[in-house]
Symmetry: C2
Subunit: 264 residues, 2 copies
């Protein structure tokens, strides 16, 4: 059955880069994959499709009843891609795009009439509310992964997201460490994961190659398929695919988090 995963994390931490490269790794293994961008930045699928896609929210403004071909696009190795989009800042809930998108995809039978091996949601994680909580609470994703570095801000957000996952009875299947070459980074992220009752499922090192591929609107998996970076994403994809981890999630309260970080 379909592996349905949601990727959360602080804005700018590397969710979209991770999602796009992991999706590319999955399709290279012959799996059928759909990627659903749930960040108002709407740029998850840019490196898979070679350009920024029109968003579902914007498409609906001009065409009340869009068809699948208006909102879903084929990218690298036939990965299917779509972007929820977000409203204009200051106008209603920032997560409204996700709510509208999920309704439409559901109505158009995307979730029932297709037999994807993997569906990946890329979700804004700076706040856990409104539309951004939808992949957690409704029947859209079975596993959640948080992308984090070893930085205070990133782990604070990860702890916050974990509180939301626990509240909404989701399953935190693991943390993907998107490293920034900080002192002791892997140690910090590993002990953070252990402390809240999950595990680190993969480690991605910061690399110029990943960024330079992105400048050409390509994943490093596509542009440099034999690179260490590409192999690394392939390892992460395999770990996710084989992951059977069910967390007994126990996020820290504010004081616990402060004292956890003080030790580092």
């Amino acid at each position: 059955r379909t592996k349905r995963i949601a990727i959360y994390g602080k804005g700018g931490i590397g969710k979209s880069t991770t999602v796009a490269n992991v999706a590319a790794s999955f399709v290279n293994e012959g799996k059928s994959v759909m990627v659903i961008g749930c960040d108002p930045k709407a740029d998850t699928t840019r490196t898979l499709c070679g350009k920024r896609l029109p968003t579902i929210l914007n498409t609906i403004k001009n065409k009340k009843n869009p068809e699948l071909s208006d909102i879903i696009f084929m990218g690298y190795e036939n990965v299917l891609c779509t972007e929820s989009g977000g409203p204009e800042p200051g106008v209603g809930c920032a997560g409204r795009g996700v709510i509208v998108a999920m309704k439409l995809l559901d109505k158009l039978g995307v979730f029932t009439e297709n037999d994807f091996d993997v569906i990946i949601y890329d979700v804004l994680g700076d706040v856990v509310c409104g539309g951004f909580a939808v992949p957690l609470k409704e029947d859209f994703a079975d596993e959640v992964y948080i992308v984090s570095s070893g930085e205070y801000m990133s782990l604070y957000a990860a702890n916050n997201i974990s509180k939301g996952i626990k509240k909404l009875k989701g399953n935190l299947s693991g943390i993907i460490c998107n490293c920034k070459w900080i002192n002791n980074e892997k140690t910090i992220v590993n002990s953070f994961a252990k402390k809240i009752g999950t595990e680190v499922i993969g480690i991605i090192n910061r690399s110029e190659l990943i960024q330079s591929s992105e400048l050409e609107a390509k994943t490093v998996v596509e542009k440099y398929p034999d690179s260490q970076e590409s192999n690394n994403y392939s390892k992460v994809a395999k770990s996710i695919w084989n992951n059977e981890f069910v967390s007994s999630l126990n996020p820290m309260n504010d004081e616990e988090f402060e004292s956890f970080f003080k030790d580092y």
Copy 2:
């Protein structure tokens, strides 16, 4: 009359550090200041009060009709401090704390029965919606400043916030560049400001001293009053106090922002 300013910016960019140190500079000049934290992280006032304050949202849970002394606390040189707080992640709008806090402060006459020289709001800026849009749209702040570095993510957020300010008919009075020693950083932020119709009102350099003071729950203005850093915040405070800039705000759309950043 009271100078009422709201500080916005991407999470982790340095809003709280800037707000606390600017507030400390103002009270050193003999001004009466109130600081209102509007970030669920509720840590704006920690360096002014030497510890984390109880939040308004949490106080209301236990005491239906709090008095001023339950929610407002005196910090460094008599600066008045309060924290809105935020709900548990996954439970309702993350900005709900701000809405509840503003209602209560209003009801308790804080805004009418006091003659502050300055009121400063520190507001989460990763999304511009719900409670986080309140200081922009309702009669709480007259000027908005955005804290930003020269990084893509930070300027993207600044541009997003500017769209919200424009939509809600607010006044973007300037950008405070909280530098991270990036190549060409001041040039990038200056031309970004110019492009969207505002100006850089102050420049703060990244400094170990600012962070080490924070570890002791103090502003650098309090801990190292004769330092270059302290003098710098004092300059920023004076620029804000004397600022008469009214923006003709013209945020970039997504394509414009991409091409703007490509040039750097």
